[in-house]
């Protein structure tokens, strides 16, 4: 995966870059933090990783030629998160994204409404998903990204964003309707 943040060496940045970065990129710090928090599942670590990603984005800022600054930044955040996971928690990256799931009977909206109406429970269910499922859900439902933006950030081909989301939602539904004991045993 070669993001636009890679390739050429970092530049020496001046006050003008600093002002432009402050205006274009820094406003997306909350988005960066939220994505890192959900990929890494931990506030403590995501603070360091979000900071690292932000400084990394700054070093490569001259490679940003306008356009969607949020997607540009989130792509760097995501790459920084995965580098961190590979180094510190490689096991979490071992789930194949394309693994075939058995079709399940769909859950009734009422049952889901009850299961989903609980912040703790939703958080726990989201955290049982592999990071690649979790990130598309977070980008779509919490960050409001379009399929095009999700494709740019996660390097999934745009044609498969829809099915990636479908699988992620199915996973979340079954995590939510599992009994809590079962869910924690899987961890």
């Amino acid at each position: 995966m070669s993001g636009s943040d890679q390739g050429k060496g970092p530049d020496v940045l001046d006050a003008q870059d600093r002002a432009r970065f402050e205006q274009l990129v820094l406003p997306h710090l909350d988005a960066a933090f939220n994505l890192a928090r959900w990929i890494l599942k931990s506030r403590a670590e995501c603070e360091d990783v979000a900071q690292e990603a932000m400084l990394r984005a700054y070093r490569f800022f001259r490679g940003f030629h306008g356009g969607d600054a949020r997607a540009w930044l989130l792509q760097i955040v995501r790459n920084t998160c995965y580098t961190w996971l590979e180094k510190n928690r490689p096991v979490e990256l071992m789930t194949e994204f394309d693994e075939e799931l058995h079709p399940q009977p769909s859950t009734s909206p009422e049952a889901l409404a009850i299961a989903g109406d609980n912040r703790e429970r939703l958080t726990r269910a989201l955290e049982t998903l592999p990071p690649r499922f979790r990130e598309v859900l977070v980008l779509r439902e919490l960050e409001g990204c379009s399929y095009k933006e999700i494709a740019a950030i996660t390097a999934i081909p745009i044609g498969t964003v829809m099915s990636a989301l479908a699988r992620a939602r199915q996973r979340l539904q079954s995590a939510l309707t599992h009994s809590p004991q079962e869910a924690s045993r899987e961890l």
Binding site: L13, Q23, E47, Y58, S106, T107, P109, L165
Partner: protein
């Protein structure tokens, strides 16, 4: 129990990513497919749970500070010492040029679209959240506009209009200086049923606008408008109807 659409097109429909033809086709399909109808209901319920449960986690204030320090450290300092005296004039001229260019850049978006404010949503919310930290809400705490208004004298290049609307359910709590988009602004604080509303005020050269439709982000709402040479932005976690009510009172 095995409609293929349940795990494909249904999601594009849910996410508003189908084109008009695709969406119309799927709606026709929904009329005759119970499985998709049930699944769509479940997905909508799941979505609303995800969005209503406060799962979004914004960056802590301390992190923003640390990052700004890191950015400054990675920025080359202007090496003024090595500039010979005779070049100061040229430097001063170029600073003036930069200043006027950024002034222009600041105004530009406002000309392109009447709805745009000279600050971003993130900055407004940041400033609002910052003000809610203990001890940060007001520099002058008073419900008396005759106390709050003169307090701004000499602290800003303009004096914001200050009114109390306690009778209408919005009590003036006080005022403070704040910074939005690099500009010094006046912040007026109102309370509404124990919730605080920040109203940021700064001068503008742009013509009046109506009160723009609400913006929403991370559980905070804001309303923005321009009136008689002043730019206003009201932000809070109160409901939009409350916020709009205050905006209308201020607009009069």
């Amino acid at each position: 129990m095995s409609c293929d659409f349940t795990r494909t097109v249904l999601h594009g429909y849910l996410d508003g990513e189908l084109d008009a033809t695709g969406a119309a086709e799927f709606e026709r399909h929904l009329e005759s497919c119970r499985e998709c109808t049930t699944a769509l209901g479940a997905e909508e319920s799941l979505r609303s749970s995800l969005q209503r449960s406060g799962l979004y986690e914004g960056a802590p204030v301390g992190l923003r500070k640390k990052i700004r320090a890191g950015l400054d450290a990675a920025t080359a300092p202007p090496d003024a010492i090595r500039i010979p005296a005779w070049r100061w004039l040229a430097v001063a001229a170029s600073i003036l040029l930069v200043a006027s260019v950024s002034w222009f850049a600041w105004l530009r978006p406002a000309r392109d679209s009447a709805a745009s404010a000279p600050f971003t949503a993130a900055e407004i919310i940041d400033a609002h959240v910052r003000s809610l930290q203990p001890g940060h809400l007001t520099d002058v705490a008073s419900s008396d506009n005759q106390t709050v208004k003169p307090w701004f004298n000499g602290k800003l290049a303009f004096v914001p209009p200050v009114k109390d609307f306690a009778d209408e359910g919005f009590s003036l709590v006080g005022g403070r200086l704040d910074v939005l988009g690099g500009q010094n602004v006046a912040a007026l604080v109102y309370s509404r049923r124990k919730h605080f509303i920040n109203v940021f005020v700064l001068p503008t050269r742009e013509p009046d606008t109506p009160i723009h439709p609400p913006g929403l982000r991370q559980g905070y709402q804001w309303r923005h408008w321009r009136r008689q040479g002043m730019e206003y932005c009201a932000v809070s976690d109160v409901s939009d109807s409350d916020l709009y009510e205050l905006a209308q009172l201020l607009y009069q």
